[in-house]
């Protein structure tokens, strides 16, 4: 029940900009599209690997920029990978992960999702938090 209430609160707050998940304030601040992206974790480490879309694929990466602020109430632990949804409610996964979330107080991260070219984006979810990205695209 508590979880449900938190989820509903997160959605309401998230849809207007920022939301809080277990001691982390999250907000979506931008959307970009490309054929080549960094696959660094969040917050970014030193991993040099980048992902690409091959010329034969009619796909692109939709990259969501997330702003993260670690609050004093953060107790550590894993944060699930974000999921992206389009306007038809199709779900997209990312290769990237949250790692060592509490290692910095605040940072921005890019999470990239492989989507069909031109997909209209709707929202991104991280566990119970939902952030509207439709206006950013």
């Amino acid at each position: 029940m508590v979880r449900l209430v938190i989820a509903v609160m997160a959605f309401v707050v998230g849809s207007v900009g920022a939301a809080t998940l277990t001691g982390i304030e999250l907000s979506a601040t931008g959307v970009s599209r490309s054929k080549r992206v960094s696959l660094q974790d969040c917050p970014a480490g030193e991993n040099i690997v980048r992902g690409v879309i091959r010329p034969v694929e009619d796909k692109e990466f939709a990259t969501i920029q997330l702003s993260v602020r670690v609050l004093a109430s953060f107790e550590g632990g894993d944060v699930p990978k974000p999921l992206l949804y389009d306007d038809a409610d199709n779900e997209y996964k990312t290769a990237q992960s949250f790692r060592e979330v509490g290692s910095k107080e605040s940072y921005t991260c890019d999470f990239s999702f492989r989507v069909p070219t031109g997909t209209t984006l709707s929202r991104i979810t991280i566990d119970d938090v939902t952030l509207d990205v439709s206006a950013l695209d």
Partner: protein
């Protein structure tokens, strides 16, 4: 373009390695480094095509063919000095004396360990590329053959098929096609039919997740600054790697000869 001297030296194996390079090799290395940096920053970097890469193979003055294992080829313009192996070498001895620095596989296994993956996968990550010291083409199959007598069947399966799965993105598992493959195989490369067929078979196999998880960890194991060691994997090796009493290379298993070749890479026959 500003060159980060420390990063450049590090990418070449350190100041000592750079000191051993000829002026021509240094110039080549600098050019390659700058090209990499530019490509990393560029919106649309230029990649070779399959034909471009085939043309490079026409150079018959190369110090080795591209498929030569790391032990048999010059790196940074020089062969590596190899210390003799102990009488009864263990896997850890090979890591220390033949596979070192092994940073990539240690990072890969470290990530698998820290994300709570099954021990068969962690061991698979630890061993998935060690055969590159011996030979590089089809390294999944060679690598599986090398360790098959000593590791769980799922680990062998993971190592054998990770190579093939690297060519096929899988959104379910969060595996992307790596940009480095544009450079290694060509931007227009299409996996050969044997890879396509193998992928289709493995994709429908009940153990698909084992090689797929090796590829997922493969993506995150190229951090040049990562500090890694074999220490966290000692217990997993003890539990799952059946070290022969006689030592690797002397136990008469089907892959003994491969370990012996790693022990004596300078034998000409």
């Amino acid at each position: 373009m500003e060159v980060d001297r420390r990063a450049l030296f590090k990418s070449l194996g350190g100041a000592a390695a750079v000191a051993l390079m000829t002026p021509e090799q240094k110039a080549d290395a600098l050019e390659h480094y700058m090209e990499e940096q530019l490509n990393a920053a560029a919106d649309e970097p230029e990649y070779p095509t399959v034909a471009d890469l085939a043309a490079r193979n026409e150079d018959l003055n190369r110090p080795h063919r591209r498929g030569a294992g790391f032990l048999f080829a010059q790196r940074n313009g020089k062969l590596r000095k190899l210390e003799p192996m102990p009488e009864k070498p263990s896997l850890e001895d090979f890591f220390a004396l033949r596979f070192a620095p092994a940073s990539h596989v240690l990072q890969s296994a470290n990530r698998a360990l820290s994300t709570g993956m099954p021990e068969e996968v962690i061991l698979g990550c630890l061993l998935h590329d060690v055969v590159l010291n011996l030979i590089r083409p089809d390294h999944g199959w060679w690598g599986a053959q090398l360790v098959e007598p000593y590791v769980p069947e799922k680990t062998t399966f993971a190592i054998r098929y990770h190579q093939c799965l690297r060519f096929f993105p899988d959104e379910e598992y969060g595996y992307e096609y790596p940009e480095s493959y544009f450079r290694t195989f060509g931007e227009d490369y299409v996996p050969e039919p044997y890879l396509q067929k193998t992928h289709d078979w493995v994709k429908n196999h009940e153990w698909y997740e084992y090689p797929r998880l090796v590829t997922v960890n493969d993506l995150y194991s190229f951090d040049r600054n990562a500090k890694v060691s074999i220490e966290p994997f000692r217990e997993i090796i003890a539990r799952h790697f059946k070290t022969p009493e006689e030592g690797l290379g002397w136990d008469n298993s089907p892959s003994t000869h491969m370990w012996r070749t790693l022990i004596w890479p300078d034998r000409s026959l």
